[in-house]
């Protein structure tokens, strides 16, 4: 009975990651050839390829494939893989625009796309003019990634009825992440003691986008209905919360050599994270005044950041966030205690939950 075998054979996540990358690579290769034929600039495909292959956990495509298996999908056919790849292409768009909005200098241990493009266009231009061209080209490359994530989806080879089944989930995911980013922007620079608000932002911009929707989309490809999607949400939302909370900690305490990102940006911008909200809620009036003066200071240096880190630690906020992560991951694992998903999918989901709890990048 091959079906049962497939359901219990562990999913080979590294091999799936390679297959997703192969789809992305072939797609961009084709786009690069078309650009050369049409006299279009090579910079778009070249820099987008560099960006995509400079790192990334491929979490969303993997969750999409696991969602497919959770809903009883067999093997990992080409259309499923291509939809998974389209989620990674969409994520490239989200990251490129996110780095623009945050004015970040580094991502994945390298200059962010707009900085790399500014350097590339430096010759014969003033610094300001090269920086502007870098920003503008990155904006367009982000737009291209969004447009091409659509094209990957439209050309996935799904039966028309199946495509129609998946599109509403894709549309909902995109609207959610845009609102999550917007909530984040509006709260940035004005962090408060409201952990509810911080958690709501993370739910919208990360938990649903990173974990829940990819699982739902993969499951919908295998024909899953609302009941199975609800079971997936019971797992996905607490895990997604944990993922964002870990990100908040890494944004302040992470090792830039490992995360590839600055650990000053969030503090300089004054991001309204759960970590900061908890600290403000627990701080005494003197601590609170100092935190408010330092958080969101665009000139904040490593010394000022060190002061913030000590203050946060004094309030016990980092330990409280660790505790939240532990309980959310445990909640996600408990949500797998049923046999609605085949064993292979369940094992993969359990592994991801354990990794999310302790990841360092």
């Amino acid at each position: 009975m091959p079906t049962l075998d497939l359901a219990t054979t562990p999913l080979d996540l590294p091999a799936l990651r390679d297959r997703v990358d192969a789809v992305l690579s072939a797609f961009l290769e084709k786009k690069a050839r078309a650009a050369a034929e049409d006299g279009h600039p090579a910079v778009v495909t070249a820099f987008l390829r560099d960006f995509l292959f400079s790192g990334g956990k491929r979490l969303r495509p993997l969750l999409c494939v696991i969602g497919w298996h959770a809903a009883g999908g067999h093997g990992t056919p080409a259309p499923t893989l291509r939809v998974a790849a389209s989620l990674e292409m969409f994520h490239a768009f989200a990251l490129v625009h996110d780095d623009l909005m945050d004015g970040s200098d580094t991502r994945r241990g390298r200059p962010t796309l707009h900085r790399a493009l500014a350097a590339r266009h430096r010759a014969g231009r003033s610094g300001a003019s090269a920086a502007r061209l870098g920003t503008n080209t990155a904006l367009l490359i982000g737009d291209a990634a969004l447009v091409w994530s659509d094209e990957l989806l439209h050309t996935a080879g799904l039966r028309p009825g199946r495509l129609a089944h998946v599109l509403p989930l894709i549309d909902a995911m995109r609207t959610e992440v845009m609102y999550g980013q917007c909530l984040d922007l509006l709260a940035t620079g004005r962090p408060t003691a409201s952990t509810a608000r911080a958690l709501a932002i993370g739910r919208c911009k990360t938990a649903k986008y990173t974990v829940e929707r990819p699982l739902h989309i993969g499951a919908a490809l295998a024909g899953a209905g609302p009941d199975l999607r609800a079971l997936l949400s019971d797992y996905a939302l607490p895990l997604g919360d944990a993922f964002q909370l870990r990100d908040d900690l890494l944004g302040v305490y992470g090792d830039p050599a490992v995360t590839g990102k600055s650990r000053l940006d969030d503090l300089r911008d004054g991001k309204h994270t759960t970590l900061v909200a908890l600290a403000l809620a627990r701080a005494d009036p003197t601590q609170r005044r100092t935190l408010r003066a330092l958080l969101g200071d665009p000139g904040l240096d490593e010394r000022g950041a060190g002061r913030i880190r000590r203050l946060l630690a004094e309030t016990g906020a980092p330990a409280a966030v660790e505790e939240l992560i532990r309980s959310r991951c445990a909640q996600a694992e408990r949500a797998l205690d049923h046999d609605a998903f085949p064993p292979a999918a369940r094992t993969a989901l359990r592994e991801l939950a354990r990794e999310a709890a302790v990841r360092t990048a």
Copy 2:
């Protein structure tokens, strides 16, 4: 024979424009309600609505509907109208990001979206921080418009097979306009005497995007194949060239009270337009030196712009562009001398070609 009646009854373009607007308005109304229910910020739908209804010719949706009629479509059913509206939503995305890239202050006679958003978020923030929030929120609202143009398309009520027929054209249009914008960016600040390059940029970012693709998309909705699409291209490409050439002239000589846009931006940025390329090709060495010194000067004022305008006129470039517009529009009209399109569609296309030749905004 009702079919013949429909084919000869003139298309009521103002009424169609209103119907497109009604679709956009209802869509945004629904999005605003959903945002209120989900605790999402109201700023996205409110500012996008203001932007969409502050003006605009609705040229792309109208051409989409005319394309439908040109291919023998009857009436203007709801799915066709909704695809047409999705093109206008996509255009809102393109304009918002375009204004960001150009750093423009005005559009449609009002502050551009990022400027309006900066003003809205000024309270309690520094000017720089409000400007950054304005830019970032506009970037996201542009992204939202792109995502929602997809949603309008996905929920147009097209039969799955018909949707699959149209999606490749939509994907191609989006890739083209992104490359057109990219070519434009890379050439900006470094205009040369190459009219071929200037025309190629306009072909890509305007002629195909504004005229050809909307017609193709509408025709595909009515089941048109490549032959009819080729006939539409014979009309669309010269007309689209003329449209861009008129835009080049209006960007330098237009009346801002009528165009709603600055007539300094293109000169300050040093846009590589056909107008500028022709002037550089025809200028004597002294004129060329002065033009090169003034074009692309970020500090250019109305006096410097006046000098450029006089120099351009001395080379005869504006008159040469007018002549190009006349000949392209005539070419577009000649391309209608056949009876492959029903009379009503042909009449509408002829009218649009005449308007494009002389428009002032």
